[in-house]
Amino acid sequence: MLWLEQRPVPSDKMRWLSPLIAVVLTVLTGLLMFALLGKDPWQGFEVFFINPLKSTYAISELVLKATALALCAAGLAVGFRANVWNIGAEGQFIVGAICATVVAVHMGSHPGFTLVLMVVAGLAGGAAWAAIPAFLKTRFNASEILVSLMLVYVADLLASWLVFGPLKDPMGLNFPQTVMFESEALLPILVQGTRLNLVLGFVLIVLMATYILMYRTHLGFKMRVAGESPKAARYAGVSAKAMVWLGLLIGGACAGLAGMAEVAGPMGQLTDKISNGYGFAAIIVAFVGRLHPLGIGLAALLMALFFIGGEQSQQYLGLPGSISMVFQGMLLFYLLASDVLIRFRIRWGREGQSPAPPAASARVPEDGATT
């Protein structure tokens, strides 16, 4: 029989191996799924993992998708570290996009200045949307999980009302969208011939800033303590309310910035389907990236593969694009399951009896204590 034995100390190695195990299991399950659906598994693998890396342009598209995910996830990770469960990044993304759009549409031509103001509007819009669950949590003890999630639907409807009403492009043949932005309101392209723009710089700044905040400042230390042991944090005089505010505001601002970059980047306008599920996928990115900025960067690239693969699976595999969400959910399942290996090891044999080899008896003190 297989059974689990608690490790004396959590394994750091497993903390980083677990996401890799989860990715491998997800890919294998994916191939099996393709086979079961009567598709050629290799072709499925090609669509998801080869095609998005085939050309410079394809890679630039991949990186562009990853930027939105990384921005949202980096902000969320700060909150998750402090045990603040903001799952409404999707809504904060939309409101950031809305605020940036209002600036873009209503500002005259002010080269440079317009973009700066749009960035500020995106950051502020996302943060303001996240401030609602922060206020209701700290003042009324309302679950930030449910409030932030409910606000996703509200943000979605708000965007829908705007693009069907006040912000609708009068020349847009009644399509639910705003006018296309002027070039001053678009992020400058970094690599000619692609759509990859200045947002990449935002991502690098945000990843670095969150790294410094979490690992190099006293405040970040306090947040991590608050997340790992609320009791210890309370004794140390860390204000739980301040952590809720910080976690949500940073998460909201980052998601809002991602929303701004979406309307000022690949979209060039606001539509009623601006977000694409980035905010939810970012939750997975944050976990797969181990809430660490470097990991988040890598996980965002991986998740971008799923997004692009999903978009193309309709065309090449005749499968609905929602297959991407299935893979995302599966990846999170496998990750959470593999994480058991951080605190436990798998043993074979009768439960409670470790088949201690003779050589192991020499180092019994620490190892034998738990068996």
């Binding site: 449910l146 999630l149 639907y153 969400m325 999170l332 058991v340």
Partner: protein, 311 residues
């Protein structure tokens, strides 16, 4: 307001509240065992699509509902395995259920979009349905509505009057003590999670087979999350879940009221659609601010894993 309008609003309120009632009751039982399954949205989605697909292909309403429940149970078992056996964080795992379930339902449901089921006829209860004002709304509904009342009564009885119900609550209050007096904590938690999955699947099935009756991607539209809030609103008491479910059912059909010929108010439809979500937030705020009441009524071990080694 004319009598006719009142009747039709009450009728529609109950129809809209029924899936919330089913899902929230299931979640309540799950949470009573100390398990916090945030995946209701995903469970409802797979339930809805499975129920619709089977009801359509097998031409049987009952088979559809059973399929919805089975789908809910299967997905909840994944949640159960990861949280109970592998002791993963329940919040994160519940989120995974929600994301996976919504995605899977969209994937599986593609071939069934734009198809319509024949409406399930109403079952008119003789005499009672002739009662003035409330008769038609309460006693001329589709039969699943009556089933939801029976389930509510059974759950109230189970939790208050049976040994098994007591064991369930004991596990939710303190799994360690429950284990010490010989209760099978792990098995009880699995059953509670599966029951929640079945009820969420049933609730999803009600929407796709009885209410609409059709399947479109995203049709659950947050009802699973609202059901989670309802459990808090009801402070973990099943009878209050009924009240909350119909209250929210009423908010959901407010469009009907505003668009009726008698009350002509120009309100953007998006605002009316946002009402249930705003109402959820309002209700959470009103209930949660009473910290003492929440602490007294919520299962003490809610969301915490159970390690046998520490028992």
């Amino acid at each position: 307001m004319s009598i006719n309008l009142f009747e039709s609003i009450l009728f529609a309120t109950i129809v809209a509240g029924t899936p919330l009632l089913l899902v929230a009751l299931g979640e309540l039982v799950t949470e009573k065992s100390g398990m916090l399954n945030l995946g209701a949205e995903g469970l409802m989605s797979v339930g809805a699509v499975s129920a619709f697909a089977i009801a359509l292909t097998m031409d049987s309403t009952v088979a559809g509902l059973v399929a919805g429940m089975v789908a809910g149970i299967l997905l909840s078992l994944v949640y159960g395995f990861i949280t109970i056996h592998l002791m993963a964080n329940q919040v994160a795992t519940g989120l995974a259920v929600a994301i996976f379930g919504v995605g899977l339902s969209a994937f599986l449901g593609k071939p069934f979009e734009a198809k319509v089921l024949e409406a399930v006829p109403r079952t008119v209860v003789p005499y009672l349905s002739d009662l003035p004002l409330i008769g038609r709304a309460l006693f001329a509904q589709q039969w699943m509505v009556y089933v939801s009342w029976v389930l509510l009564a059974l759950i109230i009885w189970f939790l208050a009057r049976t040994r098994a119900g007591l064991a369930l609550k004991a596990v939710g209050e303190s799994p360690v003590s429950a284990h010490a007096i010989g209760l099978p904590v792990i098995r009880i938690r699995y059953f509670a999670v599966m029951f929640g999955g079945a009820m969420a699947g049933l609730g999803g099935g009600f929407i796709s087979v009885f209410h609409t009756p059709m399947w479109t991607e995203g049709m659950i539209a947050g009802k699973g999350w609202i059901a989670l809030a309802l459990v808090v609103f009801a402070t973990w008491r099943p009878s209050r879940v009924l009240l909350g479910a119909y209250l929210f059912g009423g908010v959901m059909i407010s469009q009907l009221f505003f668009q009726s010929s008698e009350v002509q108010i120009e309100i953007p439809s998006q605002f009316l659609s946002a009402l249930p979500y705003l109402a959820t937030i309002l209700v959470l705020v009103l209930i949660s601010s009473n910290v003492k009441m929440i602490r007294m009524n919520s299962p003490a071990s809610l969301g915490k894993p159970f390690l046998k080694e520490n028992a």
